[in-house]
Amino acid sequence: MSTEAESRAPEAGSAEAGTAVRPARTPVPPAAVPRGRRSTAYLLTAGLLGALFLVALVSAGYGAYDIPLSDVIASARHRMGLGGQPLDRVGESVLWNVRLPRVVLALLVGASLGCAGALMQGVFGNPLAEPGIIGISSGAAVGAVASIALGLTFFGNWTITVFAFAAGLVTVLLVYALSRSGGKTEVVTLILTGIAVNAFAGALIGLFIFFADNAQITQITFWQLGSLSQATWPKVLAVLPCTVLGLLIAPFYARKLDLLSLGERSARHLGVDVERLRIVLILVVALLTAAAVAVAGIITFVGLLVPHLLRMANGPGHRFLVPGSALGGALVLALGDLAARTVAEPAELPLGVLTALFGSPFFFWLLRRTRRKQGGWA
């Protein structure tokens, strides 16, 4: 009973669509899904892209130094050589060196978190897997904090990212190995593993802070709260490769993730090389999480909230869910960051605090809803 209603509601009349289309049997592209669902996917994608563009524009103009929307567009057109005209010196500098890197960073971090959430839920076959909840973010954070506290710089600009990636990867592997038995992950085991990993990571971070000097502690604390306020183009560059690589690889595994939801054995019977799928996707998750954590600290719930909402809207098919979650995550974080820096002007709320503030109630709602409909996660 649980999921019938939720999947029916959004794709109104899929039953008719499915049966009405069949007899005609027009050549349908491979892997076609019922028509209702397809158009929902297109609509959602278009909607997300439109909203993303709009939020990015507003976010670029709005703030302590207001730039009218028309000026933002004019300046952008000027830079692209499509007419328009530049702003005054201050305006140009605010727009191109302060606002835009911040917007781009929000988009990258959000896309990474959303996509990583969708991938993890697919790989674990468990709708509660999320980098924040099961401790991957904290694990990556240990690497990042270590590199700050120990003053390491061997990879230059990329140092924090590299350390976050290495530590994140170790954590994913650890959680994966600890929480699986007999080819599947039970919710309780996964959450308990997450608690243990989070506690251990917290202890390690505490240790590093204990040994750090005052300047480093300030840096770590700000970074930990999750904020994009230090956004610069070099920072964007530091995460860009990770995010782009992860986002490019992920969609190619969407169909195999669908098959994996039948269980490992059945996926193998359908020709999926399950071992390779797992290794590649765990690497991708580590890449994406590291990218997000390295610049923005621990931002929770985006990877949980976005894929869940999209699944409710368009069903669990990963071909839409994986790229869709990247778009959705980017949108949520861009909005979040816009709110974080404007709600309490001139002060700035930490982004991680804001997402947790809105994410936790959503999590409660999700818990209650699942409990009501299918007796909870078992």
């Binding site: 009973m1 649980s2 999921t3 019938e4 939720e6 999947s7 029916r8 899929s14 039953a15 499915g18 049966t19 069949r22 049997r25 050549p27 349908v28 491979p30 892997a31 076609a32 899904v33 019922p34 669902r37 076959g125 468990n126 709708p127 599947k184 190619f252 169909r255 195999k256 669908d258 098959l259 994996l260 939801s261 039948l262 269980g263 054995r265 059945s266 193998r268 019977h269 359908l270 020709g271 999926v272 090389d273 399950v274 699944r311 069903g315 669990p316 098919g317 299918q374």
Partner: protein
């Protein structure tokens, strides 16, 4: 890069000749958790025939099934599928040659029923037979009487309905070898018959079907051959009418049974021998069961080597 994206030039399997061996176990030994679960199995599944695996709990049916599906590795002996050792196939190539229905149908996310069935077509993506996708899905859903669930999600179905959807997925894969692990376990009478009829149809169309069954009556009625497993060995193998007899089944199942021909069809009917119910003895007297011995039973009716 091509393999990274999952597109590879796959050699498409040819239709097997009638009677061709699709999968075979030779001297198969499998140990699980330190216990020898299979101790020298000789068995082959042929095109155009329904082979039923029967036997008591713990006899090794599921292990043998797993080995034939290439899920389990042989500790000794070999399993060959489509004339190649099972371990040498890539998962993608094997998926074009054999479909497997596992015992329990699980799904992590609430996919709609039709998408679940369509997953069975995944191995054919990128091949010439991809064009058959819609037809195969529709046919499989019609055959299993699941077409009526089209708009619903898998999670909203009952256990028996899920089992039929899972079967539809395996049928949609359209492989020449079909392995079904207890496909009738969750089904009502009508659908048990339906599933076995589908097996017969597939066999008549030239495919090979291996089916694990608990219901000896179904096995007797629908299988061309049955293999009775007992303590990791094949105690008897052959046509149901030859294999099913009182003595063998009573020994293997440790439960006295009677086998007699059905008055109308002549098929063997297998019934546990029950005490006459009387007011004085409401509880049937416990049956003296032979003590299971770890030593291989001497009565190997097929006379095949015992590993």
């Amino acid at each position: 890069m091509r393999t990274l994206f999952g597109i590879r030039g796959r050699e498409l399997p040819e239709r097997p000749a009638p009677g061709a061996v699709l999968a075979e176990a030779r001297g198969l030994h499998v140990r699980l958790g330190g216990r020898e679960v299979l101790a020298g199995i000789e068995l082959s599944a042929r095109a155009g025939e329904v082979l039923a695996l029967v036997g008591p709990n713990g006899a090794g049916k599921s292990t043998l099934f797993g080995a034939l599906a290439a899920d389990l590795r042989a500790d000794r002996g070999t399993v060959r599928i489509a004339d190649r050792p099972a371990g040498e196939w890539k998962a993608g190539e094997l998926a074009l040659r054999r479909a497997v229905l596992p015992q329990s149908a699980a799904l992590s996310f609430p996919f709609p029923v039709e998408e679940v069935v369509r997953m069975g077509r995944a191995p054919w993506a990128g091949t010439a037979l991809e064009d058959e996708d819609d037809e195969a899905v529709a046919e499989a859903m019609a055959a299993t009487e699941t077409a009526e669930f089209t708009g619903r999600t898998f999670a909203a179905l009952s256990g028996g309905e899920r089992a039929r959807v899972a079967l539809a997925r395996a049928l949609a894969q359209r492989t020449s070898l079909l392995l079904l692990d207890e496909p009738t376990a969750a089904l009502d009478l009508r659908h048990q018959e339906l599933v076995l009829r589908i097996c017969r149809e597939r066999a008549a169309a030239g495919d090979g079907v291996v089916v694990v069954l608990h219901d000896l009556g179904l096995a007797a009625a629908y299988a061309d051959r049955v293999a009775v497993l007992h303590e990791g060995r094949i105690a008897a193998e052959g046509e149901p009418a030859e294999v099913f007899d009182d003595e063998l089944l009573s020994r293997v199942y440790r439960q006295p049974v009677e086998v007699f021909p059905h008055p109308r069809s002549g098929e063997p009917v297998v019934v546990p021998r029950r005490e006459q119910r009387s007011p004085n003895a409401p509880v049937p007297a416990p049956v003296p069961a032979p003590i299971p011995s770890p030593i291989p039973s001497p009565a190997n009716r097929t006379g095949e080597p015992n590993g």
